[in-house]
Symmetry: C2
Subunit: 467 residues, 2 copies
């Protein structure tokens, strides 16, 4: 693509007398103020990688605008100097989507952290892109409401980043992914114009659903600056149980039975070896006696264990399976720790290659068996309620990650459930998207960002030769 | 836009020896077979207008392809002959979105009416774009499931048309509009390539959300050929009541109270004068004695009236308001008739101008009062649960419709809640979409349909002079 911009901007670290980047840096300084233009390597470092540590690059500079107008000024300056921009939220991504590849300007939205007043009657709130999930959820909690998506990285993950990646987490089975929480948004397009679709009417069929398109586009089509978020009722009390299952079919059957019986807030899968790993490396007590069942299903149901009829419903759900049912809130936390501390325990064993896939339920047993065959040390856990699994490869030989993703794709699955494509999987998009689909995506990218200003190298596969 | 195609195709009705359209007609005949190429005015007529009767145009021809491959062949032939295409579902639109403006080829999807096997465990079904809502819902009903959207035009409205317009209806409060029912779709793009996103995994963040973008694009970006539809549990029994309310605030308060108390399947608003109109012109008995309250709220709740605790909940909901609570299914139908037969009764009074708007709840009382002032004969009813109203103008002087839409826009509402923009409101999109937004929509249109093949003159405002 002849119009694509160069990523060969010079990194400006030392004296910059005749550096061609000087003009851009001066413009950025004027846009955001000197305190919020970071050019020293030390100051930049925290913005040049993500939580995996697998992806890192060098930025020309980091800018921290204070509001939408400053974001516009930053994009205009970068466009004028043909220097691409990497939008960045809380840096909790796992696929390198917010990491510079070399020479870009990293645009951190962290200072757009405004949390508006909660509209209690309408069940919504307008927030800046840089507001963290935890901050917004705290505001919502004051009114008995909650953000519909919850993530372990809630203290750092920002609403803008979550919208840009269409984040998932443990509540998708109840409330859908991040896209479903978006009533409206404001975003700055590559040409510096501002798309204002904040009002968030219950129904509005006036033209194209651009907010739906921008959600999940990982900063490649626009920079999300504010979001009108739907809020959901905050559960007053829940019932948490861990259920030993014989196999995948059994676990899926239990999820279906739980859904028929009431509101399922979470349905998570862990495996015996993962539970032992969490026990050994994160000190979490075994929730069931050895020998552990091969699969363990964590269910969280709306409503407390003492509510009318629940004991019978739980007995029917459990049958003769080994089970631990939380008697109180502390118990519930202990059971959740078995699932939530997988991430920490895996990290203690090394830097894992984290694959994030969706597998059609009918193929899940076979995919798991195949993964065990080709990657016997893989730690697999995830959101069985929406058929998405996290496959963590430890000390993986080169190419094993791609082998697993090809396996998933061959079974009709998705190579990106909820973490996005980023830089990690851009070259693999063709595994589940055919040429017509990729061509349509490229056309949309060129339409909204004709010069390739926004987050180049992410999401879309590299341009084919000769294009 | 210099690349836009001409709509000046000659209508080929009589002998066509040297007609330049002959080549196209021959190609279309080869694509769909002679029985499914309609060129005679009589045969075309049913495809040249919509349910309002307000919009009509002359088509060069109507084609009825049998499947996706034939849709591709039709689009390629039309592109080769620079003749635009109007995709058409059941013809139940109300804004002229599926009506030719003059000289286009109307592409009817009616023969793509396949209804696949219902995936009972997953709660979904794959259907052709031409399958009617009623046909799909019948299939779903065999398994205790339902389509999440319901419309009065269910026997004619097609799933493809409903996705293309992001149709609404009475169940939006419970299940969201049509876009929310789409798990996956197949669509033919203007270049004849086929976007295949049918699988519909629970989560799939691989690239851009093109299905979400195509939903609601009214056939201007692609021709939807198949849809993977989410199905919802079919209510076993419901409670229907009609509640007299003093004013809008009272009615909104009752909707909120009903939502807190359980699952609201519908929350519809009618007014005293509308109820009298339905009584007089459609023979529906008055549901409450005169004097009727100014507003009547129809609520449908999941679960039968005899369920435990419901009597108390209903008593609390009703308070001292006049109310009719359906004792049985026949009763429920009578109460629904008060709302559903508004459309028929209005038609008997003339050809109404039907406006379809969303009004922020906080502005609804004021907007209603203003509408009464400028259009005292207007019949207003609608889906108060999602703040959308249908304003029917009778014998409206020229410009009154636009005056009402400007009023709605000025109060932060939407000029198109669920019927789409079509040709009726394309020139008014700027009332709620600013220049940056319209420019972004135009860019997306050009990206996916650079020659303007698909449904020209619909959705987007006319190109500005000099472009």
């Amino acid at each position: 693509m002849s119009t694509e911009m160069s990523m060969g901007g010079t990194v400006a670290d030392g004296p910059r007398g005749t550096d061609p980047a000087d003009g851009l840096l001066a413009a950025l300084r004027a846009a955001v103020g000197p305190a919020h233009l970071l050019v020293d390597a030390g100051a930049r470092a925290a913005y040049e990688t993500d939580w995996t540590g697998r992806f890192a690059g060098t930025a020309l500079a980091v800018v921290r605008p204070a509001g939408t107008d400053e974001v516009v000024a930053v994009l205009r300056a970068c466009a004028a100097h043909a220097t691409p921009v990497v939008p960045r939220g809380g840096g909790t991504g796992l696929v390198g989507g917010a990491v510079p590849l070399g020479g870009e300007v990293v645009l951190s939205l962290e200072r757009l952290d405004h949390v508006g007043p909660v509209d209690v009657a309408g069940g919504s709130v307008v927030v800046g892109a840089g507001a963290t999930l935890a901050a917004v959820d705290r505001s919502a909690a004051d009114h008995g409401l909650a953000v519909g998506v919850d993530l372990a990285s809630r203290d750092s993950a920002t609403i803008g980043g979550m919208v840009a990646t269409d984040a998932g987490g443990v509540r998708v089975i109840a409330h859908g992914p991040m896209r479903r929480q978006v009533l409206g948004l404001e975003a700055v397009l590559a040409d510096g114009s501002v798309l204002r679709r904040i009002p968030g009417l219950a129904k509005d069929g006036t033209g194209y659903a651009l907010p739906e398109l921008l959600a999940g586009s990982e900063g490649t089509l626009a920079v999300v600056t504010a979001v009108h978020l739907r809020l959901v009722p905050r559960p007053v009390a829940t019932t948490v149980l861990l259920l030993g299952c014989a196999d995948v079919a059994d676990a899926l059957g239990r999820v279906a039975a739980a859904r028929r019986a009431g509101t399922v807030l979470a349905a998570e899968l862990v495996r015996d070896r993962g539970v032992r790993m969490v026990h050994q490396h994160a000190g979490v007590p075994l929730p069931l006696p050895e020998p552990l069942p091969p699969l363990l299903l964590l269910l969280e149901l709306d409503g407390d264990p003492d509510r009318a009829g629940r004991a019978d419903a739980l007995a029917a759900l459990v049958g003769d399976r080994p089970a631990a049912i939380a008697a109180d809130v502390a118990d519930a936390r202990r059971l959740w720790a078995v699932r939530e501390r997988h991430t920490e325990a895996v990290q203690r064993l090394g830097t894992p290659t984290k694959l994030d896939v969706t597998v059609p339920p009918a193929a899940m047993a076979e995919v798991l068996a195949e993964v065990d065959r080709i990657a016997p040390d893989a730690v697999v856990f995830g959101h069985i309620g929406d058929a998405s699994l996290h496959v963590n490869l430890l000390d993986a030989p080169p190419g094993l990650d791609e082998q697993v993703l090809r396996l998933v794709a061959a079974h009709g699955g998705s190579i990106a459930a909820e973490h996005g494509i980023g830089v990690a999987k851009a070259h693999l998009v063709h595994l589940t998207r055919d040429d017509a689909d990729v061509a349509a995506m490229r056309a949309v990218k060129r339409a909204l960002d004709p010069t390739g200003l926004l987050n180049p190298g992410k999401v879309l596969p590299p341009d084919p030769p000769g294009s």
